[in-house]
């Protein structure tokens, strides 16, 4: 084994790991011509690696790659009830054409869904990020109790969608038993039928996810804020005593990465919003809260199932998400290179 010292360290480690260290001797002789190494020696690392991750990779292929291809294939069919291609009568681009044909019921449903989804995403993105930055900044800035407030403000983001939906429906019950309506009555107003009016339904739905959803963003902003060296702030405080000016001019530019990340997360989360609508309003009234995800869900799983159409909706939605995230990545990359 002493002769092996001439070998590279990595090779030594690899060869000793094998079950037969004596087998290393002939390999050493053929050191200059690796082609003569037996297959098992040459691809030792690959064999090792793939034998370890092989099963997970196959698993991933089944539930991800095959699923993706399957969904994509399905989107070109008129698969309705039943599962499998036995039920397919027609293979065409119809599902996609429908989405982009003005006046068709599919197009109407999809673009109405897009409208709801975009409103939801925009409000959540702006609101959650502003609230997140504000709370993170205040938590960092106060003398005492920062950790306590961080813990107090964060926990609602762990509450499940089912409980969140239940709270929404308790708060915004249409008769005067709902808490919000009771407050309105106490202030002298008249009760609002939140979930019967197409104009108010979506705003009523937003309140609870807003208050339970900004915490995640707040935590990311907070950990970014903590990682910024104190010295910047100290240097800036010699110039001005206004905390908000220091924050805007010095700290905020340093948080650009967190901002980009959080915006991206908000957009991705917003585009796949489904929970509150499905659990509280089921898309109503007059489809005013029917997001695209709910539309997809309904077309695939509700009674007159139109699986092919649902998959087509899903891929158009996916295309939007992809465009947004690529755009965002490009923007982020550009800004980073500008700073440096």
């Amino acid at each position: 084994m002493q002769n092996n010292e001439s070998l590279e360290r990595e090779d030594l480690a690899a060869e000793n790991a094998s079950a037969e260290p004596i087998g290393a001797a002939p390999v050493r002789g053929a050191e200059g011509k690796p082609k003569k190494k037996p297959f098992r020696q040459r691809y030792k690392k690959e064999i090792l690696a793939y034998s370890l991750i092989g099963i997970p990779l196959i698993w991933w292929c089944v539930f991800f790659v095959v699923a993706l291809l399957w969904a994509f294939a399905t989107s070109f069919t008129d698969m309705r009830g039943g599962y499998g291609f036995d039920f397919v009568h027609n293979i065409s681009f119809d599902n996609y054409i429908n989405i982009f044909t003005v006046g068709s019921s599919q197009a109407e449903a999809f673009w109405n869904g897009m409208k709801v989804t975009v409103i939801w995403t925009a409000v959540m993105m702006v609101g959650n990020n502003l609230m997140g930055i504000l709370c993170a900044f205040l938590i960092k800035a106060i003398r005492r109790g920062g950790k306590l407030f961080l813990a107090l403000l964060f926990w609602p983001s762990l509450v499940s969608a089912v409980v969140g939906a239940d709270i929404t429906s308790t708060l915004f019950q249409s008769d005067n038993t709902g808490v919000v309506n009771q407050l309105i009555i106490a202030c002298g107003g008249s009760p609002v039928a939140w979930f019967e009016d197409p104009n108010t339904a979506i705003w009523a739905l937003m309140v609870v996810p807003f208050f339970f959803g900004f915490c995640q963003k707040m935590l990311i902003y907070y950990s970014t804020l903590v990682s910024i060296p104190e010295t910047y702030e100290e240097a800036a405080s010699l110039e001005t005593s206004s905390r908000f000016r220091i924050f805007l001019r010095v700290i905020f530019p340093l948080m650009k990465n967190a901002l980009v990340l959080n915006t991206l997360l908000s957009i991705i989360d917003g585009f796949k919003i489904l929970g509150p609508m499905q659990l509280v309003t089921d898309g109503g009234p007059a489809n005013s809260t029917q997001s695209v995800m709910l539309l997809i869900y309904k077309s695939v799983f509700n009674a007159p199932a139109r699986i092919g159409q649902g998959c087509a909706y899903a891929f158009v939605l996916f295309l939007f998400i992809l465009i947004v995230s690529v755009f965002q990545k490009l923007l982020a990359g550009k800004e980073e290179s500008n700073i440096e």
Binding site: L52, P56, V66, A71, C135, F301
Partner: protein, 295 residues
């Protein structure tokens, strides 16, 4: 110049201090209001849950303190929604998924971080692409695949599809890159196999990230409702309902006030385990700088 500045400083020191105190007070008040607004719904739910079933609330009154206190609703909901059954399913689902995916994540994360094999870049890229695609796009396909494997009326149906958790793989991979190579090489020299290396060296060195992963996965799985609902409500296997499903399908079963009281009790019950988790493992949940870095 410098003298003038320092004099000015002395003069303004008092006012600065006052400003500082003002700022602190306003901030704390604001944060408290936010915290209270977040806590309030749960407090109201708790009050609701402890009203006795024949208690009639006055119109136009919000109850902020216990009235007609009873714990009866909790028993009612456990009986009528069969929460004990759902608790078993939820625990099996959550623990099974967390443990299995942890094993997968550790092994794959280790291999991608520490073994320099040909094709590593390709595998990483492919896996990363998964993160770009919302899982909801695959809902119907995954549903059909579980039917194909015949696990749609089975607890395995909600555990197995997501086992290869790509987010977790990259979380762990990033952390494992910091495990020094020299330790692993030393283990090689001692003739240590790869799996043994993972168990005896890598796992003890990555306890923090394992804790973070386990807690995040546990809570996420506990709260999951969409896929289990699709799987079990379409196949009619309501004995396999998780806690979330049991509560969700509970909506229309009762009438009147008793209904809302009992429902509130159920909601409180299914939230309590999460809150306990949070209180115990706060440190790991709130220390998310590693996750932010990953994304």
């Amino acid at each position: 110049m410098s003298e003038a500045i320092s004099v000015k400083k002395l003069q303004t020191r008092a006012s600065l201090r006052r400003q500082e105190i003002q700022f602190n007070v306003i901030s704390i008040v604001f944060l408290s209001i936010v915290a209270i607004v977040q806590l309030m719904p749960f407090w109201l739910k708790l009050i609701d849950a402890t009203h006795s079933p024949d208690f009639l609330p006055e119109v136009g009154k919000v109850y902020l303190w216990f009235e007609a206190f009873t714990l009866e609703n909790f028993w009612t909901v456990i009986e009528s929604a069969r929460l004990y059954l759902a608790l078993g399913v939820s625990l099996a689902h959550t623990c099974g998924f967390t443990l299995l995916s942890l094993c997968v994540v550790m092994v794959v994360g280790y291999v991608l971080a520490k073994i320099k094999f040909r094709g590593r870049g390709v595998v990483s890229m492919l896996l990363l692409a998964t993160l770009m695609i919302p899982g909801e796009v695959l809902l119907s396909a995954n549903y059909q695949i579980t039917i194909f494997f015949g696990i749609n009326k089975n607890i395995l149906g909600i555990i197995l599809p997501g086992i290869v958790n790509v987010f977790g793989i990259f979380l762990v991979k990033q952390y494992m890159a910091s495990v020094p190579d020299s330790v692993l090489e030393a283990a090689d020299i001692d003739g240590c196999g790869e799996l043994k290396k993972i168990v005896t060296i890598v796992v003890p060195m990555s306890v923090p990230i394992i804790m973070t992963y386990v807690i995040i996965t546990f809570i996420g799985t506990w709260n999951e409702y969409l896929f289990p609902m699709i799987l079990y409500s379409t196949s009619g296997s309501d004995s396999l309902y998780t806690l979330q499903l049991a509560m969700q399908s509970f909506y229309p079963n009762f009438g009147g006030n008793a209904d809302t009281y009992v429902r509130s009790a159920g909601m409180i019950l299914i939230t309590v385990p999460i809150i306990i988790m949070y209180i115990v493992f706060q440190k790991y949940i709130l220390n998310q700088s590693n996750i932010a870095g990953l994304k």
